[in-house]
Symmetry: C2
DNA sequence: CTGGTCCTTCCAGTGCAGTGGAAGGTCAAC
DNA sequence: GTTGACCTTCCACTGCACTGGAAGGACCAG
């Protein structure tokens, strides 16, 4: 399988595949006589896993962590559980932070509607922020 | 006011102040005989505004947009209202996206606890992601 | 044999908001 | 006069996940 075919099959680009190889996410494949990358069929399932990991909001470094465990011949179940657990905690905090920010911004925006701009102090940049 | 004093007073660093100047967020101040930056007192309120804008989750480019309006001698009220409104919309979508992601990740994590790892297919990377 | 498409490597840039460090100038105190 | 703190400019780097482009080789159809 040439790089362009794999890119098409996995819904990504040749640029990205070379980048993944350089980043240690996919192993360097064999080469054809002409020096072209020649991927085995299982490269596709590896790319699907990477895509699913990304869809779950994991970084490529985290995905690579799981792949590294798997490549050492181990079952990554515990690792995956801990990773998802930590990710969930981070997401919860991120959502809470964003919620607080949202309320702050909503208050600021409403203040623009309700506070008379004539009461702005001359030396300030903006009365509302 | 020298740059170190302003940095201390505004709770930032000299590096950041030079960066803000280069980025067009604060005007280039006068210089002392020795070539040191010499800030006027109102630089502090400008930096406070920048900090409040950042606390509201605005980018420096957005903050600079407000400052540009103000520097042209106009009241930025309408601009600020529109900016905050758009920001609020973006925040709401971001929160919704994050919520959906959170639910997905929670489902994945729980599947690690409930699905028997012995049922993993040998060719796959991970049964859970 | 030529044209077109695919592939190769390598270097550099994107956006965001700074941060690090080198090489050197200024100023006040001792 | 010298130490030390502060300042100057300039260039490069951080993290993240790519993306763009140049220069050149491989391969296939007509």
């Amino acid at each position: 399988m040439l790089i362009g075919e794999l890119a098409q099959a996995s819904g990504t680009t040749t640029k990205t595949l070379r980048y993944y190889e350089q980043a240690g996410l996919i192993p360097a494949p064999g080469r054809t006589a002409g020096g072209y990358r020649d991927y085995p069929p299982e490269a596709l399932s590896r790319l699907d896993f990477i895509r699913r990991g990304q869809a779950a909001g994991l970084t490529l470094a985290q995905v690579r962590g799981v792949l590294d465990v798997r490549d050492r011949g181990l079952a990554p179940c515990e690792h995956v559980h801990d990773l998802l657990d930590a990710h969930l905690t981070a997401l919860d905090r991120q959502i809470a932070d964003l919620h607080a920010l949202r309320d702050t911004v909503a208050g600021l925006r409403d203040s623009v509607d309700t506070i008379d701009p004539a009461t702005c102090a001359p030396g300030t940049i903006c009365r509302y922020i």
